[in-house]
């Protein structure tokens, strides 16, 4: 307790780069600059209630939910495979799985563009087989694909780490008491892995709902998500006040979803990230 000063750099860091910007965002979101100076208003929040913006919000949540569901469906079996009993094979698999993450996120997404383009690799291959070209890029599917591809590790790794911690003898005990492989999974492995599933869901849903790069690159102009909206307000339109208001709304949504998740998680006593 004597060495309180050790925490000062972190406290300063947090004040400078987290607290102050948050206050600024909040300040921008409830003010408007007029000739008479700065006045407080809620009109930016009211503006967000217009259907055109609400539909952007719903599309963002909808696509993020689909992405999260897909990540769960793909990621859970993946985590179970990684958790296989052969240690040597497990390490190779984990390495293969993590290698793409060493590459920059943007590069990976650009790579998908070249694959999905009208003259891209996949269409060229289809043409060779005599099929017509397909519109693979610039639709919801492409955006979801990009999200799943980029965020899948955030689902797999927490589930894997929880599965890895499950005591083997608990599984053997279930077998011993008459449970076949499916029942063991349903009654023991899955319930015990829930903390991992929950932190996986949180870690995929949050970046998915706020992404703007994936939707811009793979979704083209027409598939605006809430992240793109915020980006536009700040960088293109220059309406910092409205952008800040949307950011605040986004933050509240994320905080709420995290709160729900962590409340659910507490019943299963941690092991996850939150």
């Amino acid at each position: 307790m004597k060495k309180k000063w050790i925490s000062y750099p972190y406290i300063i860091w947090m004040i400078l780069f987290i607290i102050v910007p948050l206050i600024l965002v909040l300040f921008y979101s409830i003010t408007v600059r007029t000739e008479d100076g700065i006045i407080f208003t809620l009109k930016h929040y009211k503006r967000f209630m217009e259907p055109v913006y609400l539909s952007v919000l719903f599309r963002s949540i909808y696509l993020a939910l689909i992405c999260t569901a897909l990540c769960l469906v793909l990621g859970y079996p993946m985590a179970m495979i990684l958790n296989g009993r052969n240690i040597k094979r497990r390490n190779i698999l984990i390495l293969l799985f993590v290698i793409p993450m060493w590459m920059n996120f943007l590069l990976r997404t650009y790579a998908w563009m070249t694959l999905l383009e009208r003259r891209g690799l996949i269409n060229t291959f289809l043409n060779m087989l005599g099929f017509p070209s397909m519109n693979l890029l610039y639709n919801n599917g492409a955006v979801v694909l990009g999200m799943v591809y980029n965020f899948l590790p955030f689902m797999v790794l927490p589930i894997y780490s929880v599965l890895n911690k499950i005591d083997r003898s608990v599984i053997e005990a279930a077998e011993d008491l008459g449970a076949n492989a499916f029942t063991v999974f349903r009654k023991v492995i899955f319930p015990l892995s829930l903390p991992g599933v929950i932190s996986g869901i949180t870690m995929v849903f949050m970046p998915a709902v706020t992404t703007f790069v994936i939707s811009r690159l793979l979704g083209g102009g027409q598939f605006t998500l809430i992240g793109n909206l915020i980006e536009q307000q700040f960088l293109l339109v220059g309406d910092w006040n409205f952008g800040s208001a949307i950011s605040m709304i986004m933050m509240v949504i994320i905080l709420l979803s995290m709160g729900i998740m962590s409340k659910y998680d507490q019943e299963h006593e941690g092991g996850g990230l939150w």
Partner: protein, 352 residues
């Protein structure tokens, strides 16, 4: 014992098991009779847990056969075997309460909920935990968790209960209580127990039959009294209770020479002048005055152990361990007296 009349329930025939090129079991043969309390006893790495896991179905033998009531059960998965296991660290389901843990096996067998409730209640009172149904397993003490683990296995009314060092994590007092409780339960329920431990006292207290193992091989099978009084070789003698083991020569029947003296003994059938191991329990050596004995020595140390004193006595270069309720203080010259009955002669183990 009347074991001979009882039917054989489990039989291991020439069972071998190898892990990464080390032999965990070397072609062992073993019978387990119905309603018997059989203990697999040995130091860690002797293959006792492997034997248990083979019977439970968690491991498959590399060669040999495992028979259950006369039928071969190699390759039968654990959930199809009529045995239940109590695991070393209890292995309770942490996400379930006490009731759900115990009811697990019954629910899988689709027993009616009403019957499940009755059975769980009955088994909980058997393990002295009535009323604990809705408690979280993590809120229980080690001893209580152990009882739940036993209840969870017993509620399925298995023909055989396998116990893998179930009392290892408990403190001494709790362990001794549980030993008596387990033995009572086994007698009351008439279930075959196969018990794994490295604690010789535990084995002697509870078992009908003890199987002493070492390096994947069985050293001796017998009742606790046989094993204690008639250990087959120096390893068993040393592992079961404390022993003085000294090299000697069997001069002829009923006469053995060790510590430069000749002693009468009760063993015969050895070759003339055959080198042997002589085993003498520390409590079998009497302290007499130096003049009254062929074997004299000087007390090197004496430790109070509660019931008795344990003294180390040096005589002709050999250190005897002696247990006696009478104290001979260090430095005193004493005589050692050993009755012929208490001298156990064993053949030298073939060089392993």
């Amino acid at each position: 014992m009347n074991n001979e009349t009882k039917e054989i329930l489990i039989e291991l025939v020439n069972v071998s098991k190898t892990y990464d090129s080390t032999d965990a079991l070397k072609a062992i043969n073993l019978y387990i009779r119905r309603n018997e309390f059989l203990t697999l006893l040995g130091p860690s790495g002797c293959g006792k847990t492997t034997t248990l896991r083979l019977i439970g179905g968690f491991e498959e033998p590399d060669s040999g056969e495992i028979l259950f009531a006369g039928k071969k059960i190699n390759g039968v998965p654990p959930y199809k075997r009529r045995v239940n296991t109590v695991f070393q660290k209890y292995a309770l389901f942490p996400h379930m309460n006490v009731f759900e843990n115990i009811a697990f096996g019954l629910k899988i067998k689709k027993v009616e909920p009403k019957v499940i409730k009755e059975k769980v209640e009955r088994i909980l009172s058997l393990v002295n935990l009535a009323g604990y149904e809705s408690r979280a397993v993590n809120s229980l003490s080690g001893g209580q968790q152990q009882r739940i683990a036993i209840a969870r296995a017993l509620v399925n009314e298995p023909e055989v209960l396998l116990l893998d060092e179930p009392l290892g994590a408990l403190d001494l007092k709790m362990r001794q209580e549980m030993q008596i409780e387990l033995k009572n339960m086994q007698q009351r329920l008439g279930i075959t127990f196969v018990y794994v431990t490295h604690d010789q006292e535990e084995a002697l207290t509870m078992s009908d039959t003890i199987v002493v193992m070492r390096d994947g091989a069985i050293q001796q099978i017998g009742t606790p009294i046989d094993i204690y009084n008639e250990p087959k070789n120096a390893f068993v003698a040393d592992f079961i209770g404390e022993s003085n083991i000294i090299s000697g020569v069997m001069l002829r029947d009923y006469l053995v020479q060790f510590a430069d003296s000749n002693f009468e003994c009760v063993d015969r059938g050895f070759g003339e002048n055959e080198p042997v191991d002589v085993v003498i329990r520390p409590e079998d050596i009497k302290i007499v005055s130096a003049e009254d004995s062929v074997l004299q020595g000087e007390v090197k140390s004496a430790i109070f152990k509660g019931v008795h004193y344990e003294m180390i006595v040096q005589s002709n270069g050999f250190h005897w361990k002696i247990q006696s309720t009478a104290l001979a203080p260090p430095g005193r010259k004493i005589g050692l007296k050993i009755e012929p009955n208490d001298i156990h002669i064993m053949r030298k183990a073939p060089a392993a």
